[in-house]
């Protein structure tokens, strides 16, 4: 029974008390990620030149162009303006899923983080639809392809963020529980191998899938 109690303890949202306020751990870790990304962004983009002279600029340009190419390939020309937001979410999710390797609790293990991201995504999706088609066209799009499907299309507004949020949270949590179980059976050596798969591969894959699905829904909304 001790294992399930240990897991239960990990599932609860921990917080730091400052005065009367409790600040969840995920928020504090997110501040750390924000600071890291801001400083990295500042340091990497200093002294940029039209003709790249440093290796640093060449690497950064390759990475940025690569991310832009992937997202633009999904969104098309009209959705180009949503690429910076999606790239930011991709970087944040990628880092917050990988951070578990360094012994920090990933913020995505907190349901509130993934729920907030999913709500932001669905607002962006509907906003993109309204912006592209106007209010009238947006309302009309609910009756497509058949007027009979209106309730289903309305339900989709709630199901999409729920599914986005639960997929990310469930994957991170499931990986975490499996890791705890593996550690309980074989404490040395073996967990490292599995940690590579769960933290590195699965973390990156889930970050990509979250952004990919959001981009796909935006593309569908602006078509």
């Amino acid at each position: 029974m001790s294992l399930s109690e240990k897991l239960m303890e990990h599932l609860q949202v921990k917080g730091f008390m400052i005065g009367d306020f409790s600040i969840p751990q995920s928020v504090v870790v997110t501040w750390g990620i924000m600071a890291f990304l801001t400083i990295a962004g500042f340091l990497l983009t200093r002294n940029l030149q039209v003709v790249p002279a440093t290796k640093r600029q060449i690497y950064v340009e390759t990475a940025v162009t690569g991310i832009y190419a992937i997202l633009e390939g999904i969104l098309g020309k009209e959705g180009k303006r949503y690429v910076p937001y999606l790239a930011t979410v991709l970087l944040y999710l990628g880092i917050s899923n990988i951070i578990g390797i360094f012994g920090v609790t990933p913020p995505t293990k907190d349901l509130n983080t993934t729920a907030a991201l999913a709500i932001m995504s669905i607002i962006l999706i509907e906003f993109a639809g309204i912006r592209q088609k106007g209010i009238k066209g947006f309302l009309k799009s609910f009756a497509e392809p058949l007027p009979l499907l209106v309730p289903l299309n309305i339900m989709e507004i709630f199901i999409r963020p729920l599914s986005l949020c639960m997929r990310l949270f469930g994957n991170v949590l499931g990986a975490f529980i499996l890791m705890e179980l593996i550690k309980a059976v074989v404490p040395i050596g073996v967990p490292v191998l599995f940690s590579l798969y769960f933290d590195l591969f699965d973390g990156c894959l889930q970050a990509y899938i979250f952004v990919f699905l959001t981009a796909l829904f935006i593309k569908e909304a602006i078509e």
Binding site: L7, M8, S163, L205, F212, L213
Partner: protein
């Protein structure tokens, strides 16, 4: 207690469907890439989307099992 654990076990059976689904998707994707290697990028995208959607059912099963176990 034992019945609760059995219930959680039944909920995790959703993984069965997800596994079969992802297996079928992978077999289709490999076949498609073998036939048309130049379309690998597009096939990969569709494949990942299908996997994400198939996997969602397994994740729901896992979450429900956890809810049954811990929040009963």
């Amino acid at each position: 207690m034992s019945l609760v654990v059995i219930g959680a076990g039944i909920a995790v059976l959703t993984g069965l469907g997800a596994g079969i689904g992802i297996g079928i998707a992978t077999s289709g994707a490999t076949e498609a890439i073998a036939r048309q290697p130049e379309a690998a990028d597009k096939i990969n995208k569709t494949f990942l989307l299908g996997c994400a959607l198939a996997e969602a059912t397994a994740i729901y099963g896992l979450l429900i099992a956890l809810v049954i176990l811990f929040l009963k």
